[in-house]
């Protein structure tokens, strides 16, 4: 049984409960009063509109629209500007709930595969935790080459003037390709993160079993 079918089975017809137990800050969802201030305060929703802005996602969760919510590209449009958090009259930590739903959809393998910010988010975390510190050059290259070598060269060419400007200003170093900055105790960083994942997974699984 896949991870997705296991949770779908356990929380059948109660998607709100699933979000409350499995998503970071998910227990706040029921507090939303549908005023829409979050959607009106969101820079990326203001510009080009999310498929489902935050307050709509909250209502969809309560209406049990599991598939539509978890496969949506909406949450991935969050820029982490925290404007929704400071303006929400009910004090919902909306930014964290958006990240939480996105993380959960990604964990279940339901998030849209081609969503560029989903890709970049995973790339960033792997880059940062590999050595304990971000390697900016490898991070940029990883993004350019996500759709293959040819597209990578094209993307690199399109960004050439930006990159050259950074190199000239001493703010992008080609030396980062050969090792670069890192923590001394990488082993310790990896071990503690492994443990943290184990504990977190254990707690979530216990809720499914319980």
């Amino acid at each position: 049984m896949s991870a997705n079918t296991a949770v779908a089975e356990k929380y059948r017809n109660n998607f709100l409960k699933e979000i409350e137990e499995q998503v970071e800050m998910g227990d706040w969802v029921k507090m939303c009063m549908q005023c829409g201030v979050c959607s009106g305060s969101c820079p990326t929703n203001f510009q080009s509109a999310w498929e489902h802005p935050p307050q709509e996602l909250f209502m969809m969760i309560r209406a049990g629209k599991r598939e539509e919510v978890l496969t949506s590209s909406s949450m991935w449009n969050c820029t982490s500007c925290y404007n929704c958090i400071v303006r929400c009259p009910r004090k919902l930590p909306i930014t964290h709930i958006m990240h939480g739903i996105a993380e959960y959809a990604h964990r279940l393998g339901m998030a849209p595969k081609m969503q560029p910010t989903r890709f970049f988010s995973g790339l960033f975390w792997k880059n940062a935790t590999k050595t304990g510190r971000v390697n900016e050059l490898k991070l940029s290259m990883g993004l350019y080459f996500k759709d293959g070598f040819v597209q990578g060269i094209k993307n690199g060419m399109a960004m050439q003037s930006v990159a050259l400007g950074m190199v000239k200003a001493g703010r992008l170093s080609v030396m980062e390709l050969f090792g670069g900055h890192k923590c001394k105790d990488q082993k310790g960083v990896h071990a503690m993160l492994k443990k943290a994942y184990e504990i977190e997974r254990g707690r979530k699984t216990a809720k499914i079993a319980g």
Binding site: V86, H106, A191
Partner: protein, 303 residues
């Protein structure tokens, strides 16, 4: 002994050859003048930033920040942690808040930290450099060191998101914080308190993953600065600085604009006003050169 001492968390972007290395250079010069001693937390790690969320989960993210707390406690006991990066400061403060409010999260964090041979006994204070400047030193003290006022320069104070929300600087409003305008006035330049894009998001990590969205926001931020007659923009955040500066060429291509406005750190303005050289202020780190500041930095100081 220095007047003020802190455990310093420079963050990934401040490292040598990284995107905010000019920020660090100018902060070091600024702190020398102000007699602030920053001691780097040994072997600090990345805060995870907000964009790591797809893989980070809750506990791993907090454990990353907690490792820095533990190292700080071990090597620099009793000192508050100061970050210059908005994301580092936000990430660390968020972890501090969550661990303080949840015994389970705290216990789990301690268990994970054990794997790295570390522990936390006390929660450290987490400060942003601008908090140190405003709260621990104060405008009056900072103004005393101005020997080369940036007279006649009009500067838009762009605060951005993560030093402003969700925590922000005490006493400031989320919608219209004024500390950056006060700082601009303090260095002898002209501020633009009515600059309406001062808390607009620069697009954050979406500048990489979905450039067209971020660049629409960057366009608004820069355009408004021009509309108010600004000669340069100043910011306290490394990602705001980079996004608003380095993509102006791409914005110009996309929108047919002719943007070419320097984007500075507050610390760079202060170093020049404090009599430092262009090198002390890391003006060579600008992609869009700040000619006006370079000229001022070449002038003799008024004593």
């Amino acid at each position: 002994m220095a007047k003020h001492e802190y455990a310093f968390y420079p963050g990934c972007s401040s490292q040598k050859g990284a995107s905010a290395s000019n920020y660090l250079t100018s902060v070091e010069s600024m702190c020398k003048t102000l007699d602030v001693k920053l001691t780097e937390i040994p072997d600090w790690n990345c805060c995870g930033a907000s964009i790591g969320y797809a893989e980070a989960g809750e506990l791993p993210r907090h454990v990353l920040n907690a490792r820095n707390f533990a190292l700080s406690e071990q090597h620099l006991p009793g000192q508050e942690i100061v970050a210059t990066c908005a994301a580092c400061w936000l990430g660390a403060r968020e972890t501090r808040e969550r661990l303080t409010h949840s015994d389970t999260l705290m216990a789990d964090t301690r268990e994970a930290l054990k794997e790295a041979g570390l522990t936390i006994n006390e929660m450290p204070g987490i400060r942003h450099m601008v908090e140190v400047l405003i709260e621990d030193l104060g405008f009056e003290e900072m103004a005393k060191h101005v020997v080369r006022p940036l007279e006649g320069v009009k500067i838009a104070g762009y605060v951005g998101c993560q030093t402003n929300r969700p925590f922000g600087v005490a006493g400031e409003s989320f919608e219209n914080p004024v500390y950056l305008d006060k700082l601009v006035e303090m260095v002898g330049a002209e501020s633009i308190p009515e600059y309406e894009q001062k808390v607009t998001c620069c697009g954050g990590a979406l500048a990489f993953s979905e450039p067209e969205r971020a660049q629409a926001q960057i366009k608004d931020i820069v355009e408004s600065a021009y509309d108010h007659g600004a000669e340069m923009i100043v910011t306290p955040c490394p990602l705001c600085q980079a996004n608003v500066e380095i993509y102006q060429g791409q914005v110009n291509k996309r929108y047919g604009t002719k943007f070419d406005i320097p984007v500075m750190y507050y610390s760079q303005l202060m170093v020049v006003a404090y009599g430092g050289s262009a090198k002390d202020a890391a003006l060579n780190g600008q992609v869009i050169k700040a000619r006006r500041l370079e000229e001022i930095a070449a002038k003799p100081v008024k004593r």
